[in-house]
């Protein structure tokens, strides 16, 4: 890409090395200079970053792009556009597509679809063939294609024996297994958090323990195998406490939490609107508080969106029949800046270099995401205006679907520009292509 030189001027650079006032000069897709008072050469594009934070591009560990199979809900093209508008320069595509991403062919297909997309797409491969939980997918073949994270997301691996074998196998490949923690024997048929609200509303519930027993099991399996487990979208105080203790002990586990689990409670379900149906379900306030505490004390390594588009007609079904899932890519950063009592640098860490490391997309693993804003690095950048306020309008989102639970909510903090490998793909909150 022989794009003209780009200067991001007037912002505060924030990365894993700290914060400093600096302009950033980008050329040929790479950062070439980071210093105060940079002069724009003739023909250069200048992006104003006054009052803004210039950060490494955000990395989403948990995106459902829906392609192939559910193109009416989302495509790689529409999903990566939403990602770019949300400040993400890389997303990890979940494998629960149709067909699922459990073979080299299916992974190559997604890479091909993502060629030229508005964000880098990394694939999470399935742990088991067809995500059926019966036998291992060809993990080495997928790892050879660059897959670094494997998960049967949508479901957890129900068999402890199979999960143990998968973890053992993963150690030889240097890959991480992501787990959607949900014990089917406890959760099956559940449509929301089991508790006071589900009891009152007459909806079948999923107890917290359905998540927690699998978290506890996988910690034990990680300990015995040495295999790395990444816990997807943890939602209960009990899960978080289990992970906190395991990490203190040195068990190689990491964890992500989703924005809806630190902003919404199960009381939102009272009107039976399936836009609030998600899996794991919205939990009571004490769990929301525990998720926030996990972000504050480092027990949670990442904020991941679990962006899960669904066509409008599916969200008009009765609550118990509607599919679970919410949009997340365009609201994640703003929900974090609005709802979390954390410094912006911490929020960026949770959305950028920490998830990049878990996904194996960071410079330490040969990737280019989440790295320091420094000369020679590939210019994957995100410029955040922490004071800008905006109101969520579902019809204005880039996703093909409309299932955001935040319609009408006013948020503080907005992605102003996104730069992907030197190309300004979002400028002043507008997609450039």
């Amino acid at each position: 890409m022989s794009a003209p030189e780009l200067i991001i001027r007037g912002g505060t650079v924030v990365d894993a090395t700290g914060e400093r006032r600096a302009d950033v000069r980008v050329s040929e897709g790479r950062i070439v200079e980071v210093a105060e008072g940079l002069e724009a050469r003739k023909g250069a594009t200048v992006l104003d970053a006054g009052g803004c934070v210039v950060a490494p591009g955000l990395v989403d560990l948990h995106t459902h792009l829906r392609e192939p199979g559910r193109e009416e809900a989302e495509t790689v093209e529409s999903g990566t556009r939403a990602a770019a508008l949300g400040g993400f320069t890389a997303v990890v595509a979940m494998p629960n597509t149709d067909p699922p991403l459990d073979s080299a062919e299916s992974v190559r297909n997604v890479y091909a679809l993502a060629d030229g997309a508005m964000a880098q797409v990394a694939v999470a491969g399935a742990i088991t063939v067809g995500r059926a939980g019966e036998r291992l997918a060809p993990m080495a073949e997928l790892a050879a294609l660059g897959v670094r994270l494997f998960t049967d997301d949508g479901d957890g691996v129900q068999s402890a024996g199979l999960m143990r074998r998968a973890l053992q196998y993963a150690t030889g490949l240097g890959v991480t297994l992501g787990q959607h923690c949900e014990d089917h024997s406890l959760a099956a048929g559940g449509t929301m958090h089991e508790g006071a609200w589900s009891s009152r509303l007459g909806l079948p519930g999923m107890p917290s323990e359905a998540e927690e027993v699998m978290v506890a099991r996988d910690i034990a399996l990680s300990r015995v195998t040495g295999g790395r487990v990444h816990f997807l979208h943890l939602s209960t105080a009990g899960s978080i406490e289990l992970v906190r203790r395991a990490r203190a002990e040195g068990v190689p586990v990491t964890a992500e939490v989703a924005p809806h689990h630190f902003t919404l409670t199960d009381a939102c379900t009272a009107g039976y609107d399936p836009v609030f149906k998600v899996n794991p379900p919205l939990r009571p306030q004490e769990d929301v508080d525990a998720v926030k505490a996990a972000l504050a004390d480092g027990t949670a390594d990442a904020i991941a969106t679990d962006h899960a588009p669904h066509a409008p007609e599916l969200k008009d079904l009765p609550f118990d029949q509607a599919p679970p899932g919410m949009l997340g890519l365009q609201t994640a950063l703003a929900l974090a800046t609005t709802e979390l009592d954390l410094p912006l640098a911490r929020i960026v860490a949770l959305l950028s270099w920490q998830p990049a490391a878990i996904a194996g997309l960071d410079p330490d693993h040969g990737g280019t995401q989440g790295g320091p804003v420094a000369p020679n690095a590939v210019a994957n950048l995100c410029v955040i205006d922490p004071r800008a306020t905006w109101t969520v309008d579902p019809t204005a989102l880039a996703s093909r679907s409309r299932n955001t639970p935040y319609a009408g909510r006013t948020l503080t903090g907005r992605v102003r520009h996104t730069v992907l490998a030197g190309e300004p793909v979002v400028v002043d909150a507008e997609a450039q292509r």
């Binding site: 009891s199 007459g202 909806l203």
Partner: protein
């Protein structure tokens, strides 16, 4: 049911008195809803509730359209929302909805304008007219004047059976409690809701024998095998041994106590056949009163406006 306070319940019961009188006439028909059109939308099978509502509407001279999911566009894949919008476009004053999913009447009420939505039972959630007809039957049985609802204060109501999956129980509990009755739930722990936080109940027991002597009204619920209740107790025999109202147990009730069952009743499981035939069992009265209560609800919603548009 949560939307009805004690005053509104009293209004329904008073109006029901008038319509019960209509029901006893040789020609039990009044012109109260002439020119009005109501639709019954039953997405789940029901015999008594549907017949009861349709009879109620016809006795008030309303035009009644009957829609059942089994023989309609739903079978051809039409969505709930499109079905509702189509029916509204045809022109309805009220839709009476039964659905196996909790919350459908509440959602439908958001989708329609100028059309009353009456919940005829949604999932495990609510069945308000069943609770109202229970109250009416109890008030009738207690005697001592038809006016007011004071007789419910301190009344000891015991609800026995599959409360977890029961929309009837959820409506009954709210209804009785709002009139000041003391409600005790009796069931194996597996057939109780996962949480009773905030429920207006006096207590929970797993021992039916222990509560019979202090019961004024006992309401028995069916084990809902179609909702998988069977897996919540080891065997029907074991359930009946602990929770069936047998003749022996019925003798432990105070002499004035009354026995209710919302139907359909499974004799030999939750209630012994001979108990269902006792004079204190008001099960067939409940069915008859159901028509009068539903006439009252339709009249209050469509005749004038003292109840909210949505009975949820």
């Amino acid at each position: 049911m949560d939307d009805l306070d004690a005053g509104s319940i009293g209004d329904v019961l008073s109006v029901t008195d008038s319509f019960a009188e209509v029901g006893r006439r040789a020609n039990p028909k009044v012109p109260a809803l002439r020119g009005r059109t109501v639709a019954t939308l039953f997405f789940e099978d029901s015999t008594r509730t549907r017949m009861s509502f349709e009879t109620a509407a016809k006795r008030m001279s309303a035009d009644v359209l009957s829609f059942s999911a089994g023989s309609s566009s739903v079978k051809k894949g039409e969505s709930l929302r499109d079905t509702i919008e189509t029916i509204q476009a045809i022109g309805m004053d009220a839709v009476i909805i039964r659905h196996s999913s909790s919350g459908v009447p509440a959602r439908v009420a958001e989708w329609v304008d100028h059309c009353a939505v009456i919940n005829a039972g949604d999932g495990w959630h609510q069945h308000p007219t069943q609770a109202l007809l229970d109250l009416y039957t109890v008030r009738q049985s207690l005697g001592g004047g038809q006016e007011g609802t004071d007789r419910f204060r301190g009344l000891r109501v015991t609800i026995v059976g599959d409360i977890r999956h029961s929309r009837v129980a959820r409506s009954q509990i709210t209804a009785y409690a709002s009139l000041g009755a003391e409600v005790t739930l009796v069931a194996p722990a597996t057939l109780l809701p996962p949480s009773l936080e905030g429920w207006p109940i006096a207590g929970v027991s797993h021992d039916l024998d222990a509560v019979l002597a202090s019961t004024d009204v006992i309401s028995l619920l069916r084990l809902q095998a179609e909702r998988g209740s069977g897996a919540y107790v080891p065997t029907m025999r074991e359930y009946s041994a602990g929770y069936s109202l047998t003749a022996r147990r019925a003798l432990q009730l105070p002499p004035e106590a009354i026995i209710l069952h919302p139907g359909p009743m499974v004799r030999g499981v939750e209630i012994a056949s001979e108990v269902a035939e006792l004079p204190s069992a008001r099960i067939t009265d409940q069915v008859g009163n159901g028509v009068a209560v539903r006439m009252a609800v339709l009249f209050l919603l469509l005749g004038h406006g003292s109840l909210d548009g949505e009975a949820a």
